[in-house]
């Protein structure tokens, strides 16, 4: 789409009545922004859609005339989707600067060769002729008082963290909440969110996984019944909604721009290192200049742990689970060259013994393996122990059903890749890792896997065994971290001595 500059305003080519020189938005030296006309009666639905956003024209279900008049009267803003830095394109929506993730095409919208970003193409194409639309007046809409409707009580560890969260939200600062798996981190957010909402702040809880968005939305809606929670994930229907409390996948943050006073970023560690930069960019764009950022994780990466130790990063720990029992620490068991055993159609004797014991005693179990390719070899061996044993992996279309079957005790044991390392909880479970020395089992993966055990108050214990063919740094660090948390929890009186 091209624009002409007429009387210090941009005019969309399609709305021109006389022939004018037009150009793509990226080629403009400057984008004129007309002053706000207070007498203009703007569309309030359009305001709700665009406030704190950066949307493509295709995402705005209003006519070009409507959009143009709101721009001319100073309500709608436009930014370049792609900027050029010494002729190298940079995507203003996702921050991409990697030249291998840009491509060109003969574009029907601007009738020129357009450069577009491939990194964020799944959210619609941003090219050199693409404006990002937003709303000029950045003041949030007033919302009704949010009441906190929750009758539970926080453990003293949770309460301490909750108080810190409130303080950092008040001060518009960054805080890392380092909470062990099963600490009950969601409840820790309630008071902080409530406080932010009571100050008319706009809050976003962002998480990498759609599953978590779907689970959190009804939960937060239930504790904040007087406001309407908006939920953003691929395919969600809340796109048009404006809410003081938004739950979104981190991916969807790309549609927001200077929107939030408080962003709570859940499971920051669930990302491979490579996408971390893109996420940081999205978060930076989505938050207001003066805003708070709360990170939640059970397993901060090495860099962050170091920054915490050196006092360079503000953090608070919840070293114990809400049920006041220590975290089960992994036991390391050497099992020799299990790959070689596999070629003979078996597994090492101590591994088989562990598996057989779970089946004989009826204790449910997860059996983690390093690679999806191993499933066809391992599954038949385990099915000889029990025919109902199943295996899951990331692309398994029946993943949910199989997890449910384990939870309902319809199957005794599930073989899994790292896909089940987080998010799933079973009340009474034993866990083993085969080949815990494999590279895929990072420190954080191993801490998360260990965190599956002993989650419920009725069954706070369980067995977690790492079968290995040589110790790794990750294994040692993971065990150390769990032991440290238990030690800290004991010192702080957050667990009961058995």
């Amino acid at each position: 789409m091209n624009f002409a500059v007429l009387r210090e305003k941009l005019v969309t080519e399609a709305l021109l009545t006389t022939p004018e020189i037009t150009q793509a938005i990226t080629s403009l030296a400057e984008i004129p922004q007309p002053p706000t006309n207070p007498n203009f009666s703007f569309n309030r639905e359009l305001q709700k859609l665009l406030l704190g956003k950066q949307l493509l024209i295709d995402e705005i279900p209003y006519s070009l005339e409507d959009i143009q008049s709101h721009y001319e009267n100073g309500y709608i803003t436009m930014r370049k989707g792609i900027t050029l830095n010494k002729n190298r394109p940079q995507c203003e929506r996702c921050g991409n600067e990697d030249q291998s993730l840009f491509a060109t095409f003969p574009c029907s919208r601007c009738r020129e060769i357009c450069t577009y970003c491939r990194k964020c193409i799944m959210m619609g194409r941003v090219s050199t002729c693409t404006p990002l639309y937003g709303w000029g007046d950045e003041n949030d809409l007033q919302h009704t008082d949010a009441t906190l409707d929750w009758t539970g009580t926080l453990s003293s560890g949770q309460q301490h963290a909750s108080n810190q969260v409130i303080e950092f939200i008040k001060a518009n600062k960054e805080l890392l909440v380092w909470a062990v798996c099963g600490a009950g981190k969601t409840e820790v957010l309630f008071e902080g969110i409530h406080h932010a909402l009571s100050e008319q702040k706009r809050v976003c809880v962002a998480t990498p996984r759609t599953d978590v968005v779907l689970e959190l939305t009804p939960r937060l809606q239930a504790v904040f019944p007087t406001i309407e929670v908006a939920s953003f994930y691929g395919g969600s229907e809340d796109r048009q909604k404006y809410s003081p409390l938004t739950i979104a996948t981190t991916h969807q943050l790309l549609r927001f721009y200077k929107a939030f006073d408080t962003i709570i970023l859940d499971e920051v560690d669930a990302f491979p290192y490579s996408v971390d930069e893109a996420l940081q960019f999205a978060v930076k764009q989505a938050r207001k200049d003066n805003s708070s950022l709360i990170y939640l994780t059970a397993t901060p990466n090495e860099q962050w742990q170091k920054e915490c130790r050196q006092g360079k990063r503000e953090f608070v720990t919840i070293p114990a689970r809400y049920h006041r029992h220590p975290l089960p620490a992994p036991e390391f068991v050497w099992c020799g060259n299990w790959n070689k055993a596999l070629t003979k159609g078996t597994l090492p004797a101590n591994v088989m013994k562990w598996l057989k014991h779970r089946i004989d005693t009826g204790k449910h179990a997860l059996f983690f393996i390093p690679k999806i390719e191993l499933i066809p070899k391992i599954l038949p061996i385990l099915q000889k122990l029990h025919p109902d044993i199943e295996a899951v992996h990331a692309e398994d279309p029946n993943r949910k059903e199989k997890v449910k079957a384990l939870r309902n005790k319809e199957i005794p044991l599930l073989i899994t890749t790292t896909i089940l390392e987080r998010g799933v909880t079973f009340p009474n479970l034993d866990v083993a890792v085969l080949g815990s020395d494999d590279r895929i089992f990072t420190e954080s993966a191993l801490v998360q896997i260990s965190g599956r055990v002993g989650r419920s108050a009725q069954f706070p214990n369980g067995d977690i065994t790492f079968f290995h063919y040589g110790l790794t740094e990750s294994m040692l660090k993971a065990r150390k971290e769990i032991q440290n948390m238990n030690k800290e929890a004991l010192q702080k009186g957050l667990i009961d001595v058995e």
Partner: protein
Amino acid sequence: MSEYCLFCHEEITSNTNWSSFFKVKTATYLCPTCEAQLIKIEGDTCNICNRPLEKLEPQFVINSRCLDCVRWEEDEEWKGYLLKNESLYEYNTFLKEIISQYKFRGDYILAKIFSTNIQQKLISDTLFVPIPLSAERQFERGFNQSEALIVEAGHSPTHLLERTHSEKQSKKSRYDRIHIPQVFRLKEGRDVADKAILLIDDIYTTGSTLRHAAKILMHAGAKSVSSLTIARS
């Protein structure tokens, strides 16, 4: 030759050995893992629409022709217009993802994936004609996916057709689709007399779009009309 797979962005490591050293390097756009998921259409296929016959129940095949094509050719209104269709690949989940990212997300560069194969099918003395989009749809997508396939294969498209109305016909029944009076018309001032024409489209589904186009062109005097698509669903 791109360094990264156009679809999954994995680095493509080329195994240079002595035998490949002497061969002419052909462009690679997909990594071996992705490439392996594109399934070429081979074996016995319908002698008109290129549909693999082994996947059909025997009662749906009559003399090397699928029942759909038999029905088209029995219909006085449609017989004899589309000479033959050729499709490169089976329309499996993987190809579906590629085509949807290409066409609906507008990831133009994915056209390159098919360029080498399409190039081999584009023979001289033929007009390569893309299936047109309506002006609104073309603006929405930013490009015509059929035209891009021809261009990326290194040829020039010949624009002979235009839409009489918009594309939104996917929900109509087979009856409706066949009986819309006209989907396309010949662009003004185009002469197709005695020309061999190859229509290009992304997917052959029911064949009705291609047959509508073929009918117009044959009535305008074309010598023959065939078609080439990436996928056969």
